[in-house]
Each structure stands twice: as structure tokens, then as C-alpha cells.
């Protein structure tokens, strides 16, 4: 197990060293800094509401990143796929210190552990969601529409939750409000992803 983690870690480090993922990660972090700058109060004495904007920005960016890279996981070799998964987690967690500054200054009625737990679970679920969408698109031979489908999927999760009046999929709402339903759904999705990946690995080994 430790060996698998070490392999995944090395694969993630390799994935973040060059190529598109570090560029995407840098874009995520730069956007977070911009969101922090825009949301931070312009002068002392004003209420600090920055965390709400920063957390929602992080929630949306991480969802786009995870669903986007999740769609391509099935087309990558095993090592690279694990590297991608690890790298997406690294990028998602890298955004959290910026959010911590906003959270500490805003003092919302939200515990400090929530962004960490939410990020860990949400990324797993969103990677699986992306992988499922990717499989459907490949089956329909519509992979060319993937750049459109990723933001559409994020918008769809928001629209579904808003229409149903729940918070099971919406990453924007869950970013600013602890939502056990969101955690349960994404944990289940992540579990499905792990099981499917393990079965695929066994099939490859048997072949």
C-alpha cells in the first residue's frame, strides 16, 4: 500500500514538473490570488467578506480542473493516470493556504477544517464524475465537445441542486457551507472511481 502511495506520489511529482498540469495549476493559484485581491476590503474597518468569494472561486476552479482531467483518465496509461489524480489533488490543496488567510480574516460560522475535508472528498468525487462523463462522450464519439462539456457539467451540478433545493453536487454552495449530503455523494462517487480503477487494473494484469 505504501509502495502504491509512493509510486503515486512520484507519478504526481513527475506530472507537475512539466506539461500542461503545472500550467493549469499555476492558473488556478493565480486566479485565487486575484480573487483574494478583489474580495479583500479596500480599507481598514470595512467588514471582511473575502472568504465567500475566494472559497467559491476555489470550489469552481477545482471542480473544473478535476472534472476536466477526470475525463481523460481512461485514455492515459496507468502510471500517468495516477500521476494526474495525485497532481489534481496537489493543485487543489495548494489553493487552501490562500483560502485559509481569507477564512481567518472573515471569521464566518464555518469550521477551519471544512475546506480541507471538502477539497479532499470533492476532488475524488469530481474526478470520478469526469471519468464517467468521459466514458459517455467516448461512447457517443463526442470527445471533441469535451472543452464545452467540462464547464457545462459544473453548471449542470449547480443547476440540478438549485432546482432540487438541495446541496449534493453544487461546489459553490458547499465551498461556503458545510454540507454532509455533498460529502456523502462525493465520497460515494470517489469510492466508485476507486473500485472501477481497481477492477480495470486487475483486468489489465489478468490480460
Amino acid at each position: 500500500m505504501n509502495g502504491a502511495f509512493a509510486q503515486a506520489g512520484r507519478a504526481a511529482a513527475d506530472r507537475l514538473r512539466h506539461g500542461d498540469l503545472p500550467q493549469a495549476g499555476l492558473l488556478v493559484l493565480a486566479t485565487m490570488v486575484a480573487a483574494l485581491a478583489l474580495a479583500w476590503p479596500a480599507r481598514p474597518g470595512l467588514p471582511n467578506e473575502s472568504w465567500y468569494g475566494v472559497a467559491q472561486t476555489r470550489g469552481a476552479l477545482v471542480a473544473l480542473l478535476a472534472i476536466g482531467y477526470g475525463m481523460g483518465l481512461a485514455t492515459e496509461d496507468r502510471r500517468r493516470a495516477w500521476g494526474t489524480v495525485g497532481a489534481v489533488f496537489v493543485v487543489a490543496f495548494s489553493a487552501l493556504p490562500i483560502e485559509m488567510a481569507a477564512l481567518a480574516a472573515t471569521v464566518p460560522a464555518v469550521p477551519a477544517w471544512w475546506p480541507w475535508v471538502m477539497t479532499a472528498v470533492a476532488v475524488g468525487g469530481q474526478l470520478t464524475l469526469g471519468a464517467l462523463l468521459g466514458a459517455v462522450m467516448r461512447r457517443l464519439r463526442l470527445v471533441v465537445l469535451a472543452p464545452l462539456l467540462v464547464p457545462a457539467a459544473v453548471a449542470g451540478t449547480i443547476a440540478l441542486d438549485v432546482a432540487a433545493g438541495v446541496n449534493l453536487l453544487n461546489p459553490l454552495l458547499a465551498a461556503t457551507r458545510p454540507a454532509p449530503g455533498f460529502l456523502a455523494v462525493h465520497a460515494a462517487l470517489a469510492l466508485v472511481g476507486v473500485v472501477v480503477a481497481a477492477r480495470a487494473a486487475r483486468r489489465r494484469e489478468a490480460a
Partner: protein
């Protein structure tokens, strides 16, 4: 049926009807003096229970409007149960209401309830008369004159918040000195004549007229037989009255919690950008060293960001006292300035009223007594129920202010006169200097004081000594 039986049945029915009509009510509530409550003031509340189990009195005052919607101020009084007659007495703050309803619950059932209409929300102060000749006062003071018994006057200063004057002539008993002192401390004009004046003048508790507020002890010899003929008129009462509610509001505005400052945006962005660059470098290093560097960066930056931006005091409360007196006894209230960074419940240990209309709950006889729900990054001020306290700022025999107590007072100002930078306890003030100009809330506060008053500060507490001369 025989005629005799019919008469017997009718007689039984009549007796039953009379008996049920005369059955005492389980709970009776009296708000204000003899039911004359005053809006925007603390009012005495008297609840009489007969053979009622443990329960509670709930009083809901809606102070909202069509525009604001409902703004409920809820007062809860936990009640002990038991057999026999039990009386609960206390003071409740009644804001001007759109609707006021109350109920007594015991054993899971409502045993009594009632309501006051919107038209009953009267802000005019009442004049209390302890006399068999109450009509004479009613003629003299058109307004809200309430005839009360001497024993009905409580010894709590807050109970007299809505009272303008008390007239006593001894013909209906003489109230206790403690009750009159509590009233006088609350700024009530006490007019005592004839036998009452003589009795009170002989009472050691009364004789030091150096109580706070407004005392008028008419000369019982000069007024003998004239009843209330030479007492103050309604105009004189109004002219002499110091609006303690307005003073409290001005005092509250002059302070308040300052929201905590946040670091400048340029610093925050610079540090965040540096962190992003370091993270990117760690990614580019790659391998185990890069990953290890990233983990150190992540944990270190998270901890540092949390420590640097975190508020140690998410809920800030500051307490300031305002004392208004004329002699040795003062009216005292404490203003609690509360500020909460996360939204939620804020509490004040004692019974307090919000300075501005705010929804909240007051549980009498319970700690914390007053609770409010505030949105995040919002502050408000609450004023405790007033009480009598020893005055720190008094007048000396030479007509100059003196400090009683262990601490010096600063920024001493005579309204319409000079000023002293510091006044030490017991010291005779030196030559007064020109008072420095006041602006903003402090100027508004001073404008509410009568000419000849003196006021000073003890850190964030303010002390006022009203002019000591008899005004009529």
C-alpha cells in the same frame, strides 16, 4: 317535576354561576403602575399566581413596522410552581410596540394570556399620587396621573424609568424611604408635603437630600394645609426633567466597539503571490524533494496565514458606565457594546435593553439574561436596567465639583462654564480653564445636560452631577 324541585334546581344553578364568576383567576399580570405602562421605558411587572405549577411567563413585544416586518422583543420569566398565592415582581423594558401579547404556561397548558393594543403604547411618563386627594394632583397635572398605594411603590430604580413625579401627602400612607430614594435616583421629582414631608424629613434615610436625580422636598411648615397647592406645575416638571433615555443613547453613540483592522490588501496579495511562486518552484523541482518542499510549504503557509489573519476575539464586548446624580446617590446604567465577527448569538449577563430596535430575548432571573442574534460583522449596544449607586462626582459646599471615590476623574467640564483636566479624589478644584471645543457625539451629549451640570470621565465611564439648586 314539582314546583319545589324546580326552585331547588334554579337555586343550585344560580349558586354555581355566582361561584364560577367569583373564582379567582389563576394568573394576573400588572404591567406598569396599576396597569399604566410606559412605552420605551422600563416598567414594573407584577405577576400573581394562584395554585399554578412550574411554568413561565412569555411576553412578546413586536416593535417592527410594515416596512421592517416583525421585530420581536421577547421577555421570559421562569416561574416556580406551588400551591397558594405567589407574587413575582421585576422590571421589564417595553419598547414602543406594534403589538404586545403575553401568556403564562404551566404544565403544558396556557393558564392565562392577554394583549395590549397598539393604541396603549404611550410614551408619556406617569405621575404617581400617594394621597387620598389624588384629584387635586390630577387637576394640576393634566396627563397620566396614577393613584397608587404607599406599599405598592417598589424599591427598584428601574421601576421608575417611566415615572415623572411622585406626590405624597401622608393621607394614604407614607412610602418607604428606600422606595422614594430609588425613585429620586431615577430622576423622579418627589413632592412630599404636610405629614409626609414632616415624616420623611425626620427619616434619616430621607434627610440627606443629597440623593441623585431630582428631589423636591417642599417645606412642610410653609405648605401645611395647602396640600399640593404649591407643588410644581406640569411645565415645571418637564423643564426640570433630564431625559435619561436620550442621555443613554448619546452616551452609547459616543463609544462602541471599533471593528478590528484587517491587513492592507497590498501586503496580503504580495505574500500570496510569493507563496504561489514558491509552490510553482517546488512543482518544477519535481521528485521527492519537490513533493516534500510542497508539503512543508502547504502546512507552513496554511498555519502562518491562519495565525496572521485570525481574530483572537471573534466576539468583542466592552462595558461602559454612565452615572447621573446630584448628590451622593446616582442613577447608573452600564452600556454593553457588543460586536460579533461571525453571525450568531451574543449574550449580556444582566437584564439589558437594546439602544436601537433589535429582535432579542430577555430571560429574567437567569444568566445570561439578554440574548440577541446578530448578523456577522455587526455590532450593537445594550443598556442595562438602571440602578442606584454611590455618586463619584458630587457638588461641594463651595459649589465646586468634588470627586468621591478612589480614582481621579479627567476631562471635567462645567456646562456653560470652565473645565479642569484632572480632578483628584477629595481635592478642591483649582482655577478652571477654558473648555476645549467638543464635536460629534460628545457635543450632543453635553447639549442634553442642563446648564450648570458638570461631567467628567473615568476611563470609558462618564459621570454627571446635575445642578444642585432647588428649581421651584
Amino acid at each position: 317535576m314539582s314546583r319545589g324541585r324546580t326552585w331547588l334546581l334554579l337555586a343550585c344553578a344560580a349558586v354555581a354561576t355566582i361561584a364560577s364568576a367569583q373564582a379567582p383567576r389563576l394568573a394576573e399580570l400588572e404591567l406598569g403602575f396599576r396597569g399604566e405602562s410606559v412605552a420605551d421605558a422600563w416598567n414594573p411587572l407584577r405577576l400573581t399566581l394562584r395554585d399554578v405549577g412550574a411554568g413561565r411567563l412569555t411576553l412578546v413585544v413586536d416593535q417592527g413596522s410594515l416596512r421592517e416586518g416583525e421585530v420581536p422583543w421577547t421577555v421570559i420569566v421562569p416561574l416556580d410552581g406551588g400551591a397558594g398565592v405567589r407574587v413575582w415582581e421585576g422590571d421589564v423594558y417595553l419598547p414602543a410596540w406594534r403589538s404586545l401579547r403575553w401568556s403564562v404556561d404551566a404544565g403544558g397548558a396556557v393558564v392565562a394570556s392577554g394583549a395590549l393594543p397598539r393604541e396603549a403604547a404611550d410614551r408619556r411618563r406617569v405621575d404617581l399620587v400617594v394621597s387620598a386627594r389624588a384629584g387635586a394632583v390630577a387637576e394640576r397635572l393634566p396627563g397620566r396621573v396614577v393613584d397608587v398605594g404607599a406599599a405598592a411603590l417598589p424599591s427598584r430604580t428601574a421601576a421608575y424609568d417611566g415615572v415623572r413625579s411622585i406626590w405624597v401627602d401622608g393621607s394614604a400612607g407614607i412610602p418607604s424611604g428606600a422606595a422614594l430614594a430609588a425613585a429620586a435616583a431615577a430622576g423622579v421629582v418627589v413632592v412630599a408635603v404636610d405629614a409626609a414631608g414632616a415624616a420623611l424629613a425626620a427619616d434619616p434615610g430621607w434627610t440627606p437630600v443629597a440623593a441623585g436625580g431630582w428631589w423636591v422636598l417642599e417645606d412642610p411648615v410653609a405648605l401645611a394645609g395647602m396640600a399640593f397647592g404649591l407643588g410644581p406645575t406640569a411645565g415645571a416638571l418637564e423643564a426640570a426633567r433630564v431625559d435619561l433615555t436620550a442621555l443613554t443613547s448619546a452616551f452609547a453613540v459616543a463609544g462602541g466597539v471599533v471593528p478590528p483592522a484587517t491587513p492592507p490588501v497590498t501586503t496580503v496579495v504580495a505574500v500570496a503571490a510569493a507563496y504561489v511562486v514558491l509552490v510553482f518552484v517546488a512543482w518544477r523541482v519535481g521528485g521527492a524533494p519537490g513533493l516534500l518542499t510542497w508539503v512543508v510549504l502547504l502546512t507552513g503557509a496554511s498555519g502562518a496565514a491562519w495565525q496572521a489573519a485570525r481574530r483572537s476575539d471573534a466576539r468583542i464586548t466592552e462595558v461602559r458606565a454612565l452615572q447621573v446624580g446630584a448628590g451622593g446617590l446616582a442613577w447608573r446604567t452600564e452600556v454593553h457594546d457588543v460586536f460579533t465577527l461571525p453571525g450568531g448569538r451574543v449574550e449580556v449577563a444582566r437584564s439589558a435593553r437594546p439602544i436601537a430596535a433589535t429582535a432579542g430575548t430577555q430571560t429574567l432571573g437567569h444568566v445570561p439574561s439578554t440574548t440577541l442574534h446578530l448578523p456577522r460583522w455587526r455590532g450593537t449596544s445594550l443598556a442595562e436596567a438602571p440602578r442606584a449607586a454611590p455618586a463619584m462626582l458630587v457638588w461641594g459646599a463651595d459649589g465646586l465639583p468634588r470627586v468621591e471615590g478612589g480614582r481621579p476623574l479627567t476631562s471635567v467640564r462645567l456646562v456653560g462654564g470652565g473645565a479642569w483636566a484632572v480632578l483628584d479624589p477629595g481635592a478642591v478644584p483649582g482655577a478652571a480653564t477654558d473648555p476645549p471645543p467638543l464635536v460629534g457625539p460628545e457635543a450632543a451629549f453635553e447639549a442634553l445636560l442642563p446648564w450648570g451640570s458638570v461631567w467628567a470621565r473615568d476611563a470609558s465611564d462618564w459621570h454627571v452631577a446635575l445642578p444642585a439648586e432647588v428649581r421651584w
